[in-house]
Symmetry: C2
Subunit: 289 residues, 2 copies
């Protein structure tokens, strides 16, 4: 008898019991860390996970440790029943939905502080962010004992930071980056897009156009500074009220990039449309030979 | 043919290959983290480990991240051949002896920052210390994939900090604390004892006498302040040139202790004899009923 939704557990003990049963049967496990409010981008992570592992666990936890007091923790969308239905639809095996006091019990006092890929960009504007992400993701990895963890390229710096902590802490799992899923017009899917009014939604696409043009200039090796300048102007014209950054960086280390070095580059941007902060990124096209 | 010494590996890849073979045979693994310069206290950790797990791995790594620039990293005793012979003697299965660049490769940038049990005491005098310990121990746990890790009570605050990070980060192993091994006169065994001159060695035992008297007063619930005062005086008379602390704390949280709360207490002390810093600790005797 098929259940109407995917099963979920909310304690580490229950989670480990189920995973141990899978392991005993020789099955590999992939975890898909999310904060819920699932969209097609998340479901694509589950589908990719199913190609890597026999079992998939999607975690749903709105992690207070990665929000500053001024940020949108309270209004962050929570759509748990809808999320379960969507996960059932793509055949996810289990939802890991801990309560806050299961994730951070009384006396909790340990922080993982990433540097390297965590320096600059998001950290200049959200200094608390990657510490919160690194700590909760490490816990999701150790709680599930997963062989694979799936992360969207949409949060590109986050993906680089996670790769860094997994390497640095010798965490025994493989991090899999999955290309950003976009709306038909090119806007990167994001749980925060639902904050946008219809008018803002129409103008939001400018961020994608801007990084595409900057990436093109970077790839050609000419007009990069002007493309970034024009990009700032285009975002302002489109009604973005603040531009946190439009930057080209080394695609792995996120340090300064120059075409001369011959390494892959990545264009990353973050900007505010009303009260909504949008981020996006795209690869610098490889030089044609 | 029995080898003359215990086998050792120096890369994570080799280590994991051997441990995977053990796991496949259903064997459990205990790790004994050390900085080498092994003495009877370390060997006791190996013997205890053998009661918990089929396989024992002793790590030998003098961890630069837990020494301040002013501390004794360079002169810390390194006695690798002698350590291997001792470990062979007690039947340890494997030595994990990474080089520095295997533990901290180029680009390494992640720190684990413990709080809670890490606050005060050692941290007041060695603020860098537990961050370095927490990071390297987490790596030793993930590198070995051990089921158990053995720590001596000699470094009592360290044991509490390790328990804290294992709990906070959901690391899937059990931390086993092992009572301090002492010389016939009561001095806690320590790799740093070899720094002591014969004259200092004779006077070093005062630290053990002092904490014993303080613990006795704490257990009786009278004369605690005076016992601590007398202890300071006794250490100074014995030639200790600086007393970092003589303190009674909650045996688990290391927060302030009072007999009224009815919780286990621990007396901890740290003091300098010449250029050698000695630490020791002892349980507050439980109230007789």
């Amino acid at each position: 008898m098929a259940s109407k939704t995917v099963p979920y557990v909310s304690t580490v003990a229950e989670l480990r019991k189920i995973v141990a049963r899978w392991r005993k049967a020789g099955e590999r496990v992939a975890v898909i860390p999310t904060m819920g409010a699932l969209h097609e981008g998340h479901l694509e992570l589950v589908r990719r996970a199913q190609r890597k592992a026999e079992r998939t666990v999607t975690s749903i936890f709105v992690n207070p440790a990665q929000f500053a007091p001024t940020e949108d923790f309270d209004k962050y969308p929570r759509t748990f029943e809808d999320d379960l239905a969507k996960l059932k639809g793509v055949g996810c095996d289990l939802v890991w939905a801990p309560r806050k006091d299961e994730m951070y019990p009384g006396g909790f006092a340990t922080r993982i502080v990433p540097a390297g890929a965590a320096e600059g960009l998001e950290t200049d504007f959200r200094p608390h962010f990657f510490g919160g992400v690194a700590t909760v993701c490490t816990k999701l990895f150790t709680q599930t004992g997963a062989d694979f963890a799936m992360f969207g390229e949409k949060d590109y710096q986050q993906l680089c930071v996670i790769r860094q902590i997994v390497r640095d802490l010798n965490l025994p799992l493989e991090i899999v980056g999955v290309p950003t899923v976009r709306e038909p017009d090119g806007l990167a899917m994001s749980s925060r897009n639902r904050y946008l009014s219809a008018d803002q939604r129409a103008r939001a696409i400018t961020i994608h156009h801007v990084i595409t043009k900057v990436a093109d200039a970077a790839g050609k090796g000419r007009g990069l500074e002007k493309a970034i300048e024009d990009g700032h102007a285009a975002l302002t014209t489109a009604g973005f009220r603040q531009i946190d950054y439009v930057a080209v960086r080394d695609a792995e280390t996120l340090k300064e990039w120059s075409k001369k070095a011959g390494r892959p580059g990545r264009v990353l941007a973050a900007a505010w449309l009303g009260e909504t902060r949008l981020i996006d990124n795209i690869a610098v096209p490889a030089a044609k030979r």
